[in-house]
Amino acid sequence: MYKIAKENLSALFRLIAETRELYLPVKTAGQTNYAAWSEDAEVDLDTLKTVKSAKDAFFPQSEGLYTVKKEGKKMSVEPEGLKEQDFVVFGMKACDVKGLEVLDNVFLSDPVDTFYAARREHGTVVAMACHEPEETCFCKVFGVDAAEPKSDVAVWTAGEDLYWKALSEKGEALTEAVKELFTDADEAAVEAEKEAIHKILEKLPYMNLSLEGWNGDALSEKFDSPIWEELYKPCLACGTCTFVCPTCQCYDIKDYSAGDTVSRYRCWDSCMYSDFTMMAHGNNRTSQMQRFRQRFMHKLVYYPANNDGMYSCVGCGRCVEKCPQALNIVKVIKAFQNQGGEQ
């Protein structure tokens, strides 16, 4: 284990950026999101939750697939290149790292999404333990330990220092490249930090949320429940929950015409949108209730049914914070719990 004084972090970032692209939480116009590091970027490691997750680094909101060029009546197709440049995502939290696992199950199983796979291959994740978890967090519910992120490199902040521990080959490689800035450290401070984090986690209101009854076997029971009719009503059908979510993976494919060239790209889509999965005949989900239900059924029932019980929610709590009308997955889970109690 190594450590580096927090005040030297910019030197660390500069050094990483010499050989790799570096993405980390940057504050722009008052909001912190993952962005490419630059000398004048306002790096913000204090904000626990970036507005969007770090998902963009591996599965960008918009991504070119190929370009068609037209010359006269002849056409040529030029596929978009795969990611070739190594990059580092610094500062991801344990929940977001778990989110990558969810995406891996989707994109790395057959047929493999080559764009995603290339990014995963070239990306090194430096994950950061959550120094001060918040009331909207419920990662523990999904088996995530906020104090012990599992990724290429784990880092902790304690006192004036940042502690660094490589956990994978890629992590070792990155460590090699920047080791010159580190000094050796023992684990005592980190252990104390972990304990402190665990103590706080115990106090958080959502940490003991029960997922009992949420699994593939409960499909029709949950699907047919009348509760959805009540739950969806305040939903505005915006895509906020989807776009801030570290695990939502749906996308749409669209064309953009710039005259003689047409580029085909994919972009995130939200199952909350009325034109989601729109087909020639219309849409298979015609009401907002159905769309609302889809999102939570997918996270808590369909996905675990297809992925050995793994949920596609990681308890990051972004939707809890960002839903304009204060709806969220926690309220959904609780509503079913209460309903169960009453029956």
Binding site: G72, K73, G259, D260, G282, N283, T286
Partner: protein
């Protein structure tokens, strides 16, 4: 995908000298959808059109672009050519490579490049064109004229003479209007009644004209060619079929205190009355507010004296519903109220009168039997002052911003008549400007000054002060001599501004015809379509459109008649297919589009909608394509993009933009 043919015209050397036409044709073949391209000397010539026809048939074209002169020149030609060859005429687009290209650019390379871009835009558009069919609507061969003054009468006679049925709806008990109140008319000084009465008789006797007097338009629905109108026939309390017009009832009526509308309230009339002797129809009405029978239940004298048994106290308002193909508005004018002009002492002195009141005073059938006398004491005036522009050309809110147009001439007429009949009376006219354009008008005015010695003073009157001796002290200014003038007058006559009949607002709303800020009806085009309302099938006759004298009114009445006849002569109306359409699935029913439609073409209906399986009743905008003129104002006002314009659709225009910016 369309199969598009592109035809590039040389226009002799007009285009070919600056644009490489064969290159343009060659480039056309590179564009999506283009299956044929050729260039030719004169595409508009018979030979050129034959080439187009041949290509349409041989290549099975579904659309075509002609790169030629302005569409304003030959779009119609090429559309017709396409139609003859079996292609829908609305599948033709023109790329203007002459006026917008070859004629204004000198460099061949540059002009050719631009021509290619203009052609691409036209091709991009045609790729999205859809065949359009003009709609058809039927024409009811009957016209409605609202207002029975000289404008309405003339319009009705002209339409009827052309063989069409006309109904006149007149609010008052008789036709005749303002003109019937006038004594003499300028510039010939012939008696108004003498020239009007024959017209009134002609109208009432015309077999094609039906007159509803004492009636008002209640409701209008429908559109050009097919209006449905409810007319309220107010209860006359006299049976029109039985009444012989003997006049005994009026003589015997004990209630004679009602102010006479016809004499502008200067004297009174009986409760059962005809407004004036020559009234048409010569059937009295009972003014139920003045009638003792209606007020107290007693009396009933008129019924007793009526030998024909025509008086009917039980009569009720009746609604008649009629269909019309055209509607002419001839609602005329009134003088403005003078509440705001108290400096002229109109409300304080009976001897301050309006010009229209003077007409009645001068008229033999008027309150003074034609003798010029002061209404306060009946004495003959020696000094009369006329004040011009009372409420006209006014820059503040008290009056009207416009010139009432007729005042200068009638004042000259009044002055002349007075000086002629009463040479000892001094006549002074205060004016801002004297405006006398018109045939024999200025000559007329000069005669008043030169021959009759009328004293014209350029200047405004600040105040008229009634004096204890009964005279009127007029404080004015003489701008030419730059001095204040104080003049004692026996009578003051105000050339009061005219304004559209106040009822016109209500009528305009019913007709969805627009009116301007002064309540004059708006014409479809200020210069080129002055007798048509922007609302199709509505025509304008007389002062309802703007201030006019009698000859102008009659001329416009005839013009409105011709326009109406032109409409009625058609059996069916072909409607422009480039009209707005509302997408039933996108429309919010928010009424925004209706607010910007100048033609009242948009209405809302509750429609059953099947939106991808969701069935519900929604308020939806419906465009009446017979009324829509295709301006597109609604398409931009519509926030959801539901409203689109055929022939100039959002996607078509965007395609042109894209092609130009490519």
């Amino acid at each position: 995908m369309q199969r598009i043919g592109v035809f590039v015209c040389h226009c002799g050397s007009n285009i070919a000298a600056t644009v490489d036409v064969s290159k343009v044709a060659e480039m056309a073949l590179m564009e999506p959808g283009v299956v044929h391209a050729e260039d030719y000397q004169y595409m508009c010539s018979e030979a050129g059109q034959a080439k187009i026809a041949a290509a349409i048939q041989e290549k099975n074209l579904t659309g075509m672009v002609v790169c030629s002169c302005s569409p304003r020149m030959h779009e119609a030609t090429f559309r017709k050519a396409a139609e003859r060859a079996g292609l829908n005429p609305y599948m033709v687009e023109i790329a203007n490579i002459r006026e917008h290209c070859s004629w204004i650019h000198k460099d061949v390379e540059e002009a050719t490049k631009k021509a290619v871009i203009l052609m691409r835009a036209a091709i991009a558009k045609v790729n999205l064109n859809a065949p359009l069919q003009p709609g058809e609507s039927r024409v009811t061969k009957r016209a409605l004229v609202i207002g029975g003054g000289i404008a309405g009468i003339q319009t009705a006679i002209d339409i009827a003479d052309a063989g069409y049925e006309v109904d006149i709806v007149e609010k008052t008990p008789s036709i005749g209007g303002r003109m019937s109140q006038l004594d003499k008319t300028f510039p010939t000084l012939d008696c108004s009644a003498c020239i009007l009465t024959p017209k009134m008789v002609e109208a009432s006797a015309h077999e094609k004209i039906n007159i509803y007097t004492y009636s008002e338009v209640e409701k209008v629905s429908g559109f050009v060619g097919d209006f449905t109108v409810d007319i309220r026939k107010k209860a006359r309390s006299v049976d029109m079929d039985k009444c012989t017009g003997c006049g005994v009832c009026q003589e015997k009526c004990p209630s004679k205190k009602a102010p006479s509308e016809f004499n502008r309230g200067l004297n009174t009339r009986s409760a059962i009355y005809t407004p004036f002797a020559q009234a048409i129809p010569n059937v009295p009405v009972i003014d139920r507010e003045a009638c003792i029978k209606f007020k107290t239940g007693k009396c009933g004298l008129c019924a007793k004296v009526c030998q024909a048994g025509a008086v009917d106290y039980e009569q009720k308002d009746e609604i008649v519903t009629e269909k019309y193909g055209a509607i002419v508005v001839a609602t005329g004018f009134d003088t403005i109220k003078l509440d705001q002009y108290d400096e002229y002492a109109y409300s304080q002195s009976k001897d301050v009168i309006t010009s229209l009141e003077l007409e009645r005073v001068m008229n033999a059938a008027g309150p003074t039997h034609g003798h010029l006398e002061r209404l306060s004491d009946g004495k003959a005036p020696k000094e009369i002052v006329f004040i011009q522009c009372v409420g006209s050309r006014c820059s503040d809110d008290r009056g009207k911003p416009y010139c009432s147009k007729i005042c200068c001439m009638y004042t000259a007429k009044h002055a002349m008549l007075i000086r002629d009949k009463y040479p000892d009376v001094n006549v002074t006219v205060f004016y801002i400007d004297v405006r006398t354009p018109g045939k024999n008008f200025d000559e007329f005015y000069r005669r008043a000054v030169e021959q009759y010695g009328v004293n014209y003073i350029k200047g405004q009157v600040g105040k008229v002060i009634p004096q204890p001796n009964g005279k009127l002290l007029v404080q004015g200014s003489d701008l030419l001599d730059n001095k204040q003038i104080l003049k004692e007058a026996d009578m003051v006559v105000l050339a009061t501004a005219i304004e559209p009949n106040p009822d016109v607002r209500k009528i305009a709303t019913m007709l969805t015809a627009s009116i301007d800020t002064n309540n004059f009806l708006t014409e479809a085009h200020a210069k080129l379509r002055p007798v048509e309302s922007p609302t199709a099938g509505i025509f304008l006759s007389g002062v309802c459109q703007g201030p006019k004298d009698i000859p102008e009114t009659v001329a416009q009445a005839g013009a409105a008649a011709v326009k109406a006849i032109g409409l009625l002569a058609k059996d069916k109306l072909l409607t422009n297919p480039c009209t707005a359409q509302s997408d039933i699935l996108l429309c919010n029913g928010c009424s925004t589009c209706e607010n910007v439609c100048p033609y009242g073409a948009i209405t809302y209906e509750d429609k059953e909608v099947n939106d991808h399986g969701i069935r519900e009743t929604r308020r939806i905008a419906v465009v009446n394509s017979a009324l829509c003129q295709g301006c597109g104002a609604c398409t931009v006002a519509c926030p959801s993009g539901a409203m689109d314009l055929q022939g100039f659709s959002n996607r078509q225009i965007i395609a042109e933009v894209d092609a130009i910016c490519r």
